[in-house]
């Protein structure tokens, strides 16, 4: 290109969403980590029916729920569960996707066909439907939820990993590395992985938001987290019948979900501008 200019607008934009998203996520993460410190009461054991359904006040900043537990404390502790659901399930998805994608692209042949078939299959069955089935099998609970969400949306990372291997292969990197006597595994880790780390992080970040929303949807359908530890989705789902009588029960978990997912989405967008080579090519 003869116009060798960086388009500063894009970079600025990425910066804003990175900053806003990052702060929102940072708040959620610090709430999760500091939960025992910043929570006012125990989220489970401090049920006191005499304090049930108190609207937000000085003592209970977000009010109390039907069992008389402090909603603020439950949201703070809920961050632990909602975030771990997001993070662990995305780690699972990335591991599965990358492993399948790398090996499929690298070895090719019938394995590649099989993995491609699997990927198509995963894309064809809506992940919520799939997750619902897995939750029904394993029963409600944190572990099942993580498995259900961690098993059902790896197709994107798989595709990216596979495409990257194929492109590196066509550029001769892989052959070169092989001639130098590198083993298959080493080639994958040294040559391929660093190249796809950016897009993978982006996908995982956006996927975490999706997982938190999926947790809420599954809670709504009656297949959520194992009680009594609070997750935002189960809090929201339990509170929905009281929306006319005690709106704060659903407003605060709802906002917690919204802002955290929003933060993750913004962060993902911001990271994409920085990390995803596909969107940076245009700038150079």
């Amino acid at each position: 290109m003869s116009v060798a200019l960086k388009l500063p607008r894009l970079r600025l934009k990425g910066g804003t969403s990175l900053w806003v998203g990052g702060s929102l996520v940072a708040i959620a993460i610090s709430a999760a980590i500091l939960a025992p410190v910043i929570a006012l009461t125990d989220p489970v054991m401090d049920a006191n029916l005499m304090n049930a359904e108190i609207p937000p006040c000085w003592e209970y900043p977000f009010g109390t729920d039907a069992q008389g537990r402090d909603i603020y404390s439950r949201i703070v502790y809920g961050a632990r569960i909602s975030l771990s659901v997001g993070i662990i399930s995305q780690i699972c998805n990335s591991l599965i996707g990358v492993t399948l994608g790398l090996t499929a692209g690298y070895w090719g042949g019938w394995w590649d066909d099989l993995v491609s078939g699997l990927t198509n299959l995963m894309l064809a069955i809506p992940s919520l439907v799939f997750a619902l089935a897995i939750m029904a099998i394993l029963g409600p609970g944190l572990v099942s939820l993580v498995i259900a969400l961690g098993l059902t949306s790896w197709s994107y990372s798989c595709r990216i990993a596979r495409a990257q291997v194929l492109s590196l292969k066509s550029q001769g990197y892989v052959q070169a590395a092989r001639i130098l006597g590198y083993g298959d595994l080493r080639i994958m880790f040294t040559q391929v992985l660093p190249n796809i780390l950016g897009p993978l992080i982006v996908i995982a970040t956006l996927g975490m938001g999706g997982a938190i929303l999926a947790e809420a949807a599954l809670s709504f359908l009656g297949l959520g987290i194992r009680p009594p530890f609070p997750s935002w989705g189960s809090m929201l789902s339990e509170a929905r019948d009281q929306i006319t009588t005690a709106p704060w029960l659903s407003v605060f978990p709802g906002l917690a979900i919204f802002f955290t997912v929003l933060g993750l989405n913004l962060l993902g967008d911001g990271l994409r501008d920085i990390l995803d080579p596909q969107s940076t090519t245009r700038r150079n």
């Binding site: 064809a124 069955i125 809506p126 919520l128 089935a133 979900i257 989405n265």
Partner: protein, 311 residues
Amino acid sequence: MLIVLGRRLANVIPTLLAVVALVFLLFSVLPGSFISGMNEDGRSAMDPAVMERMRKEMGLDDPLLERFAKYVVNIAVGDLGTSFRTREPVTKMLSGRIWPSLKLVMAAMTFAILVGVTLGFLAALKPGGLLDTAAMVGAISGLSLSQFWFGLMLMYLFALKLQWLPSFGYGDGGLRNLILPAIALGVGPMALLARTTRAAVLDVLNADFVRTARSKGMSERRVVEWHVLRNALVLVITIVGLQFGSLMGQAVVVEKLFAWPGVGSLMVDSVFQRDMPTVQGCILMIVLFFLAINTLVDIAYVVIDPRIRYR
């Protein structure tokens, strides 16, 4: 076009077979059975002797492989089995649900395309402008919403407070009942489409041939009409297809909330009652729909993009 269709079909059949196998195996290890599910409302006690008979009648005690083989053979002749719950053919139960589901999905997608593509398009024409910022903040918020929460809010606002629309149900199947669930379902794809369209249009607006068009002395409007739209469409249509196809499955939550008689709500209901033949039928339907829409998208590519034919 025939080649595309043929190649598609060759892909579809193994996928379908795999779906059938996967779903069958998944649900065969599900805890609880239809019979215990009959007491789902906690209000209908069952007699153990009757339960035994029912297990036998439904073939629940046969070996898994035998059941699977039977099932596949029956599917091949278009028989999806008999619902445990209603003792009617699953095909018949599904046939009543497809049209409402299609209607909801179409309405949601129409909403998503009309609003999403328009917003994304307008946003891209003035990047960084007020509309762009507002539209993109809106879009990313739309992607961060919990669907049932949003649906509930719509219900409260438009049905209870403003009394503009009925809050739930199928009614006579008309538009009034359709609007709220369609918006609740369409807001996610809408947000996604707004973002995709914006990115696609920006991409195209920066393309060399658009500069060529400008150098010809065209007005921006002509540039957009003659050169940008069609090219952006190719990019947008992929997302439309993917979203459209999976919408029937995503509709589960909205259908349940709005008591909409679609395939999704039938499926959830059947999962909870362990009515396996119906669940399998529903999932098969959803997958078929996805594959059909994607085939249509492939055909649309061929129509829009002359390069495809020669690949």
